[in-house]
Symmetry: C2
Subunit: 199 residues, 2 copies
Amino acid sequence: MESPVKGHEVPRPNTRDRIVEAADFLFYQTGFEHTSFAEIAAIVGVSRGNFYHHFKTKDEILTAVIDLRLNKTRAMLRDWQAEGQGPAERIGCFIQILITNQSKIVLHGCPVGTLVSELAKLDHAAHDHANALFTLFRDWLHEQFVQLGRKEDADVLAMRLLAQSQGVASLASAFRDAEFIKAEVQQMRAWLQSVTPAA
Amino acid sequence: MESPVKGHEVPRPNTRDRIVEAADFLFYQTGFEHTSFAEIAAIVGVSRGNFYHHFKTKDEILTAVIDLRLNKTRAMLRDWQAEGQGPAERIGCFIQILITNQSKIVLHGCPVGTLVSELAKLDHAAHDHANALFTLFRDWLHEQFVQLGRKEDADVLAMRLLAQSQGVASLASAFRDAEFIKAEVQQMRAWLQSVTPAA
DNA sequence: GTCTATACGAGGATAGAC
DNA sequence: GTCTATCCTCGTATAGAC
């Protein structure tokens, strides 16, 4: 897709991208600080020294990981938008990711929430960059609630839904309880109904 | 208070307790893994080497910190219980801590949620021990909802309130927004009203 | 119980050959 | 672009004197 050469070349992902992918995976699974270069190198299959050719510092890798997640998230929101359904169905897509990712969430929490939380504790400069992930969802949900006819309190509803999903992910992980996710998703769908103005 | 000698001795806290207090503070502010012995030693005012006399490993300090938090939490719940009011007022006390601790929450999130989340990522043996903090609140809230007349779904309501508070803390910290806490606490109080059976 | 000194390993980062 | 070798710092942990 992003291969610079057109034609019949096999689009083998380059080392840089593979480093970012591996870091993305490990940062989610074991946290940013706890992930070492050695672990990333082991997954990618290159030597430690090598990838200083691609990134000068660990923070640069973090920046690349956040950018990757931002791009993936934008693409996902665009897809939901393109499915040609109404705002209620699109908000339903957002709620559904709790179900889709439930096993990962039980093990490692929400990828966005746990990263932002860790960076806040570290007082890390990239905190705001990471929080742009939340802002992406917040603005998108805001727009959906506007289209749903809740112009006045669209941001309040967007933040409330975001908070609910964070709380559910947090407790599901703490108690290792996937059933809790299912039950609360039911409740969130009912809530969505209740805030949808009658046609 | 816990001084072994009775009488006129000044109840100076011993070094061990001061280490645990300092660790408790730092684990909350900057996270368990990111906190170094040097930082704890700097606060307590003892040399690094010294407090291996009190704790053999960092994990032992963590255990002591969790026990401290468990005891403090039990005492707090007991106090709420002792104030002689009804279950609705007691649940209101729980909601109120979001307001009381709002400035800390904005900076460092919920002390329970962020610790449990970090230990989950580290796949740390103390995860379950830390999660006992959540269980303390869960069981206590459960009991309050039973007394409120919601025996059938007491645990569901307890978990929902716990999840809400986690979500609010998470987003308030991410967006550095204390006003969000205030607004959502209003909403949580209204919700509590709505689940309280009419007398 | 408190201190100094030190061992030991891990992790981030660099230099330079291929 | 990739590798090996190496440096440096920091953090945990230990030994032993006072």
